[in-house]
Point group: C2
Chain length 171, copies 2
């Protein structure tokens, strides 16, 4: 078993700060999974939240800080025109802080924040590519189930996998 | 059979104009299908296209004009981080111009524009509600097939239906 993040001096923060623009860019880049254009989008969501506020922009954040540094974060928000469905737009942990259950902890806390906002369904999208197998396993281990597949969505050999976790499901 | 739009003096236009803000608002409202918030989003996409240009905003339009009036339109665009997938964001025909095949004509022309941009897959989302049965029938009649269903996505009795038309499919 990985060590629990409970043993680490982690603090959590929801409010975005200007410095998060840099932190998010670094964290998302550090995974090596995302293209420059994707990193740019991740950063834009922070900017939108800073400019408009999280309620108006629809982009909410949860930052996990370790030794005054952002070690990981999630970005999520209500899906427009749905009653209580949420999208998890991003979840990322700084490369060197991996393997301590920080991602799992961030996701569980994010789900509690969504539930507190009366959110009942959390959707997350990923790719069918081999590279994303650990990502898919992570979501499955966190109680997400595959809800739909859009074949060849990204490219001829790359499907979109849509995972769902019902927060109101009986345990 | 409905009369062909070929018999009507329709002109087509791709470039957005300032007056389209009002036209799109009216057209989308005229259907009676959409909430005020949804109408606002339809109008915002026109504004984005006017401010940033269609390439930069990612929102492309096709307007069908009859007697110097916008009778219907589509809004579509490439889906970010996909090789050749497009979203059809909006298709709407002014209420009093319905029943002449204008929607079908607009959709076919939009698909040709997407194909000309090397788009290979067109996705469109709608609701499972009874009210949208004619919408679903319309897409099916235009060669779209149901690709995925996200159950209870909009609300407990309202699923998201994702339709797909492959533009590269053998006829």
């Amino acid at each position: 078993m990985h060590s629990s993040p409970a043993s680490l001096p982690i603090t959590y923060r929801e409010k975005t700060r200007h410095a998060d623009i840099l932190s998010v860019g670094q964290i998302v880049s550090s995974s090596g999974f995302f293209s420059e254009a994707e990193v740019e989008v991740a950063v834009q969501l922070v900017e939108e939240s800073l400019i408009q506020g999280s309620e108006r922009s629809g982009y909410h954040f949860l930052f996990a800080e370790l030794c005054d540094e952002v070690a990981g974060y999630t970005c999520y928000g209500p899906i427009p025109f749905t009653e209580s469905s949420y999208d998890l737009y991003w979840i990322a942990v700084q490369d060197r802080f991996r393997g301590h259950g920080l991602g799992r902890d961030l996701l569980a806390r994010t789900e509690r924040l969504i539930a507190a906002r009366q959110g009942r369904r959390v959707y997350v999208e990923t790719s069918s590519r081999e590279q994303y197998r650990p990502t898919r396993k992570f979501y499955e281990a966190c109680g997400y189930r595959l809800e739909a597949v859009l074949q060849q969505f990204y490219s001829p050999h790359d499907d979109k996998m849509i995972y769902l976790k019902r927060l109101d499901a009986p345990v």
